[in-house]
């Protein structure tokens, strides 16, 4: 759900830009206190994996597709603060190098997929952690739905489309896309834990 240039007006992209920049500045401060040099490669490969996985659109119903966001995957494996930085790096590169997500919409895209999806998804995961894969699945689904809802609100605030029209439509399609997000995230988290690939999330917990 990368918002392109032209969908948001100035007040919306400035507001979301300020919110995202503030959150990222705080996330950088948090991780600076805890991040060890040896954990840096793990952040690098997680960013690389999420970037690659985001390229693989999977078909859902009705001639529509979706792709992994990866917010909960990053948050569960590396903690939410690191995850928000990882998501921001991915979204910035996608916008600058691949024209995926507008430069003016970067703040909104980071807010939706790098802040809201990360922290809401991580919160749900912590509540349901004891249910393991099921908890990861539900957290991932919720992260997609909330990111989609935030995107709808931004489009409505920008007066691109009324909320009553865009919110149900966004939630409808993303309810299916979220199932894909949940299945992929639960599978990858399970594989990482069974193969003992320690990505040391404990050090950057919220």
């Amino acid at each position: 759900m990368h918002i392109p240039d032209g969908f948001l007006d100035a007040k919306t992209w400035v507001t979301t830009g300020v919110l995202s920049a503030g959150t990222l500045a705080y996330a950088l401060r948090r991780t600076r206190q805890t991040l060890q040099d040896r954990q840096v490669p793990a952040m690098g490969v997680m960013a690389a994996f999420i970037f690659a996985a985001q390229m693989v659109n999977f078909p859902i119903v009705g001639g529509t597709s979706g792709h992994l966001i990866g917010a909960v995957l990053a948050a569960v494996t590396l903690g939410p603060w690191s995850a928000s930085i990882i998501m921001a790096v991915i979204l910035i590169l996608q916008s600058l190098l691949f024209q995926d997500g507008g430069l003016t919409a970067l703040g909104a895209n980071i807010l939706n997929m790098g802040v809201i999806a990360v922290f809401a998804g991580y919160g749900v995961y912590r509540l349901l952690e004891r249910y393991r894969a099921v908890g990861v699945f539900v957290a991932s689904w919720v992260s997609v739905m909330l990111a989609a809802a935030a995107c709808a609100v931004e489009l409505a605030v920008a007066e691109t489309i009324p909320l009553a029209v865009v919110l149900p439509a966004m939630l409808f399609w993303h309810a299916f896309i979220g199932v894909g997000e949940g299945l992929i995230t639960a599978a990858v988290v399970e594989i990482l834990s069974r193969t003992g690939v320690a990505l040391s999330r404990d050090t950057t917990k919220a």
């Binding site: 918002i3 954990q39 490969v45 999977f58 529509t64 790096v89 600058l96 439509a169 993303h174």
Partner: protein, 102 residues
């Protein structure tokens, strides 16, 4: 680098090169809503910058699947490199702070 960490990077490259060329080309959720609700054209031609690898197709590669795979390969490595660099900067600053305070 830890072998298991390296394995994750290789898996990421494999996903980018082998799976992305076969990704669904159907509109994603937001594009679909923009199409259905008639605001898709608001984004047309509004790009603020011209990206070097637009739409994940490496310029100069004729075959679309190869162009996607190449873009995926480049993008995955660049993402790893940038995240690694940013991570080192963030982790490094803390080490610097430690040296100044006993």
């Amino acid at each position: 680098m830890d072998k298991k960490i390296l394995a994750v990077l290789l898996v990421a490259l494999a996903v980018a090169v082998a799976l992305s060329p076969f990704a669904s080309s159907n509109p994603d959720g937001l594009e679909r809503v923009a199409e259905d609700k008639g605001f898709l054209e608001q984004g047309e031609g509004k790009e603020v910058i011209t990206a070097p690898i637009p739409d994940y197709l490496l310029p100069g590669v004729e075959n679309e699947r190869l162009a996607t795979a190449a873009a995926g390969f480049v993008g995955t490595l660049v993402t790893f490199g940038v995240m690694y660099g940013v991570g080192r900067l963030v982790a490094g600053r803390k080490a610097g702070a430690r040296q100044t305070s006993p």
